[in-house]
């Protein structure tokens, strides 16, 4: 609940509106992530070969299954915008919550920047395929138009935003299935999948390459945990969030397997590992105009759906931090009519666009991956503290994940392995970016925490935590 003073009217208490169902949760999670199947995952092929990428895909899939299990339990109990940020406030404390909020905002804002960048490239590719001279297409007007439309959607209301996301994500997902069916059954193309002929059973870098491939195998799933940003806007949190998140995870596992299968059966791994849009390239190899157009549309839709979901999630995390005064409370306003965190939305979009236009794609991707990974590392800590402070039976949980503490320990071990992989890929850049979070933490403790109302940080109707 927040004060809003839009239009100089008397401050009134306005909440975000509860209008979303499981389908919207699915659309938010899968919408953000599916672009990773259309671009990005294939850099794991460059790191470890096609088979190495597949093994990494399975192992990182296990990491994300643990993420989804842990997240579903806590989120189905903590029904508030901000997702893991709000969880951190209740289980660990303000400084951790501030950091988790930053992970979320930066992971999504950077991912949005990468989506925008890719969307521009897809427009250029289409224009050049339609006869435009190479290097003459200025994609910026198209990118600005797309970002403006997405910003308006998000400003206008969460129901419409995620309904649109559902539609375009569904089209993108179906396009992958159609491509696989076309190749598998020879419909519309005489080309066949040739995994054996393309040497897909080999590990060119051995198991070291498999480990290195973890770095980009994350792109198969990065962002699925964003479903819990919708916690305050779903009609039935205990039902919709676990249902939407777990079906989303299943969708992504299927999409990842199909994507690998069709791409590795059509493209030499040395090419696949560096391709901008591998599924689109796989469609080009079919020679079918229908498939080429469909996969171009699917790739564009996936990039837009991801940017749309990222705007939604980054704004909610930023809004939540403003509401708690971890950031300026100016950003905590809810639109009196559309019931959206409109100031947070409007503030973050130009920043993402700037990252996209500045051509900082490599550091942007590094930052997004690192921020996501730091957030996953927090989850086992979160789960251990949650179960210790409120053991099963002490509070009502919407969902209880099985086999505790095995998923939390597995997640922690896989996070450490992924840090090693990110170190192999990014080297000391990783350390330089960690400095950002250390400096931001010190800034919070020294300059920002004094504005935080202590008791207001605990908003759940739970009993006193055990041991405190």
């Amino acid at each position: 609940m927040v004060d809003t003073t839009v239009g100089g009217a008397q401050p009134t208490k306005i909440n975000l509106v509860k209008v979303l169902g499981p389908v919207h949760v699915w659309a938010l999670g899968v919408g953000i992530v599916l672009v990773g199947e259309f671009m990005g995952w294939n850099f794991s092929v460059e790191k470890g070969g096609a088979l190495g990428s597949l093994i990494a895909c399975w192992i990182i899939g296990l990491l994300y299954t643990c993420v989804a299990m842990l997240d579903s339990e806590v989120t189905s109990t903590v029904a508030a915008a901000g997702g893991q940020y709000t969880q951190a406030k209740h289980t660990t404390g303000p400084l951790m919550a501030f950091n988790v909020g930053l992970y979320l905002v930066l992971a999504y804002t950077m991912l949005e920047a990468a989506d925008i960048f890719v969307f521009g490239d897809l427009v250029r590719i289409a224009a050049e395929n339609l006869g435009a001279e190479q290097g003459t297409v200025d994609t910026r007007p198209f990118v600005l138009l797309a970002v403006s439309v997405l910003a308006f959607l998000n400003y206008r209301g969460v129901f419409m935003t995620l309904t649109v996301n559902f539609l375009i994500t569904a089209v993108a997902f179906i396009s992958i299935i159609v491509l696989v069916i076309a190749y598998q059954f020879g419909i519309g193309t005489s080309e066949t999948l040739q995994h054996g002929g393309l040497g897909m059973g080999e590990l060119p870098y051995g198991w070291m390459g498999v480990l290195a491939a973890f770095q980009f195998a994350i792109w198969y799933y990065l962002g699925i945990e964003g479903t819990c940003q919708a916690a305050e806007e779903v009609r039935s949190c205990g039902r919709s969030l676990p249902l939407g998140t777990m079906t989303g995870m299943i969708t992504l596992l299927i999409a990842a397997a199909l994507t690998w299968y069709v791409c590795s059966g059509t493209l030499p791994w040395e090419y696949l590992g560096t391709a901008l849009a591998p599924l689109y390239d796989a469609s080009l190899m079919s020679g079918s105009t229908f498939l080429i157009v469909l996969l171009w549309v699917g790739t564009v839709f996936s990039a837009l759906a991801s940017a749309n979901g990222c705007i939604n999630d980054a704004a909610r995390a930023w809004f939540s931090m403003g509401r708690d005064r971890y950031l300026p409370e100016y950003f905590a306003a809810v639109h009196p009519v559309y019931r959206t965190p409109f100031r947070a939305i409007i503030f973050l979009i130009p920043i993402a666009a700037a990252f996209g236009f500045l051509g900082l794609l490599a550091p942007v991707v590094t930052f997004s991956i690192l921020s996501g990974l730091l957030g996953y590392t927090f989850m086992p800590i979160n789960m251990f503290r949650f179960r210790a402070k409120w053991p099963l039976g002490s509070i009502k949980r919407g969902y209880v994940h099985p086999f505790h503490p095995l998923p939390a320990i597995t997640l922690l071990v896989l996070c450490i392995a992924t840090y090693v992989a990110v170190y192999l890929g990014f080297g000391t850049q990783l350390l330089a970016m960690m400095v950002f979070y250390v400096v931001a933490s010190i800034w919070f403790v020294v300059f920002r925490y004094k504005y935080v109302r202590r008791g207001d940080q605990f908003t759940m109707a739970w009993p006193r935590p055990k041991g405190y």
Partner: protein, 160 residues
């Protein structure tokens, strides 16, 4: 009951400055690795099979493998091949056909194929990096716990 902490009211200018601080930190975090030219694993020149590497007098590099394939990288970065065939690149007929469909001729495909990552790394830096991440989380948990006790005390009152 614990005393309720009343935070100071922050001015609009103060709020603006705080938002700017975060943004500046983010931009610095993005630009500093670029400015310092910090790099991770990079691809190096490679040939199929067993190969030897030689430095030339003019600062170039020559790679020769046991099947006679020679890759020369001149000081200005120009790459040339001798005895280049699909067989020398260990590309079978299926692979050749797919490269051709992608619009790659033998030379272009060779440039893509004869680059590989070198995953050798410095253990000390890896351990330092992991220790830094572990130390960061330890600091977060400990400092957060102090703040959390204030939150709980104000919300639920001091323990009697």
């Amino acid at each position: 009951m614990a005393q309720v902490y009343q935070p100071p009211k922050q001015s609009r200018l103060g709020q603006l400055i705080d938002a700017a601080v975060i943004l500046i930190l983010v931009f610095l975090a993005l630009f500093i690795p670029l400015e310092m030219e910090l790099a991770g694993a990079e691809k190096g020149d490679w040939l199929p099979g067993n190969y030897a590497v030689e430095q030339t007098a003019d600062g170039g590099v020559v790679l020769k493998n046991d099947s006679g394939l020679i890759k020369t990288i001149a000081a200005d970065g120009t790459v040339t091949f001798e005895n280049l065939t699909w067989e020398a690149l260990q590309q079978n007929e299926v692979m050749q056909a797919q490269w051709s469909k992608l619009g790659y001729d033998l030379q272009a495909a060779a440039e893509a194929i004869t680059k590989r990552y070198d995953y050798s790394f410095d253990w000390l830096w890896l351990i330092l990096t992991l220790a830094a991440i572990g130390g960061y989380f330890l600091f977060l948990v400990r400092q957060s716990d102090k703040e959390y006790r204030e939150v709980i005390a104000e919300k639920f009152g001091n323990r009697s």
